[in-house]
């Protein structure tokens, strides 16, 4: 690779609009995790695949928020849809699947969790918010509702034009993604304190599919420009509005819906295992 290509690649990795919050969140989460991992005895360390899922999840989130990729997302509809696929689905999906809480807790200074996090976690306001949001009705409604809300053409127009609103859109997708997939992949069973049982979680995962297929197909097959902000502010590549929308719609329609199918399959697997374990309790209750 010659020097100018290397310089160009390096420039691509610099943030387009630096966000201290996004930087701290991604880098902080990874640093905390690695610190926790190094303190855990070898036998207690999670499987390598889990560590990989955690790092990949935050790596993807960082990439779509804090590199030149963000610039492309602001000026191409389908790139923006991939950005939201990462923020709302893939990134949080991988992070939640890695069940990182025990490792993260070990990364904190001794006594920090007991002194500060536990009271916060047990505070009545936190408990009430948790009950309101993390259940089988509100969580999927909010998950699908946010997708529809930000794709409402006038709302989308203004989010793409106004920097603060754009940030609000992306943060709302990321935070909702974390809450949703954390609820779905909660390593605890209902008996152990998870807010929603495994069977119901399968249902929640599948329930989110039809509305996403509907809105994805609606956008992909629309015969007019639904999101004219890209024409008004300029596209990075020479795509027509319908080409851009066609690809963007298909991204919601297929890969986004597929993530829910994958989640349902993982959950059904866990459900069956939990059932078997209940029938014949394992001799060694590890994990």
């Amino acid at each position: 690779m010659d020097l100018s290509a290397a310089r160009e690649a390096a420039a691509f990795l610099l943030p387009w609009e630096f966000s201290p919050a996004a930087f701290l969140l991604c880098v902080g989460a990874v640093a905390l995790y690695l610190a926790g991992l190094s303190r855990l005895p070898r036998a207690e360390r999670p499987h390598g695949a889990r560590t990989l899922a955690f790092l990949l999840g935050w790596g993807l989130v960082y990439f779509v928020m804090q590199t030149r990729y963000d610039y492309l997302s602001q000026h191409m509809f389908f790139v923006h849809r991939i950005q939201h696929l990462v923020l709302h689905h893939m990134g949080p999906f991988l992070v939640a699947l890695s069940a990182p809480l025990p490792v993260l807790a070990r990364g904190l200074p001794a006594g920090f969790a007991e002194r500060y996090l536990r009271p916060l976690w047990r505070h009545p306001v936190t408990r009430a918010a948790y009950r309101v949001l993390q259940n089988a009705i509100v969580a999927p409604a909010l998950f699908v509702g946010l997708i529809f809300f930000w794709l409402e053409p006038p709302v989308h127009f203004e989010a793409m034009l106004s920097a603060p609103r754009y940030a609000l859109m992306n943060w709302s997708m990321l935070l909702d993604g974390v809450l949703f997939w954390a609820m779905l992949f909660d390593p605890r069973t209902r008996e152990q304190g998870a807010p929603v049982g495994l069977g119901l979680r399968v249902w929640v995962a599948l329930l989110c599919i039809p509305p996403q297929i509907w809105i994805g197909a609606h956008i992909a097959l629309a015969d007019r420009d639904l999101f004219d902000v890209y024409a008004i502010c300029g596209r990075v590549w020479d795509f027509t509005a319908r080409e851009d929308q066609g690809i963007g719609g298909v991204i919601i329609w297929i890969p986004a819906a597929m993530m829910h199918v994958a989640a349902a399959l993982i959950l059904i697997g866990r459900w069956m295992r939990a059932d078997r374990d209940r029938a014949s309790p394992p001799k060694c209750a590890a994990a």
Partner: protein
């Protein structure tokens, strides 16, 4: 709780943003930052946004070799300005070139003059241009040059309209017609 707060805030913001109190063009009050730039005016030396305070400013990005969007848009803006009964002189069109390599100041001056009065071509160095397109979330990209060294530049089609105090107020879309633009400008110039 945090999630419903965010959603609530988003809904509230969307509600107050979509008030189009009778404007023809898209009302963008509060969505975009105030006008700010430092560039060179074709035939006028160094200028900044402060030089245009007191005027209704129409900011448009393009280049003189542009085959379609720029000439039609500039002709439309000229027609809108000509259709104004009062306040015509309070309207200033700023045409910012996204192709400073080919658009010299002389060429820019000649180009905008062809469309009519009240138009100024602006040219900035890479840094000044970069700052302005970033500020208004506008994209442009140069295609690969052909055998003759000619190339097209794809760019934004919207016109950003600022009031006399430099606040971003309207966004004229490609489908907005000259009489509608004229009505909006008249109202804006009258302090609306």
């Amino acid at each position: 709780m945090r999630r419903s707060l965010i959603l609530g805030t988003a809904l509230a913001l969307a509600a107050c943003g979509s008030h189009d109190a009778g404007w023809h063009a898209k009302d963008v009050s509060g969505l975009l930052p105030d006008l700010e730039f430092r560039m060179t005016a074709a035939g006028g030396g160094a200028v900044s946004a402060a030089d245009y305070r007191g005027k209704v400013v129409l900011l448009f990005f393009g280049y003189t070799n542009c085959p379609d969007v720029c000439p039609t848009t500039l002709a439309k803006l000229a027609a809108a300005r000509a259709a104004m009964r009062e306040h015509r002189d309070a309207v200033q069109v700023l045409f910012v070139t996204v192709d400073p390599a080919r658009d010299t100041l002389a060429r820019l001056a000649q180009y905008v003059a062809a469309f009519g009065p009240g138009m100024t071509g602006l040219r900035g160095d890479d840094k000044a241009l970069e700052a302005l397109v970033r500020r208004y979330r506008v994209a442009y990209s140069r295609d690969k040059p052909d055998a003759h060294g000619e190339y097209a530049v794809s760019h934004s089609g919207g016109v950003f309209v600022f009031d006399a105090t430099g606040r971003a107020r309207l966004l004229v879309r490609p489908e907005d017609a000259a009489p509608e633009i004229a009505a909006d400008l008249e109202r804006l110039a009258a302090g609306g």
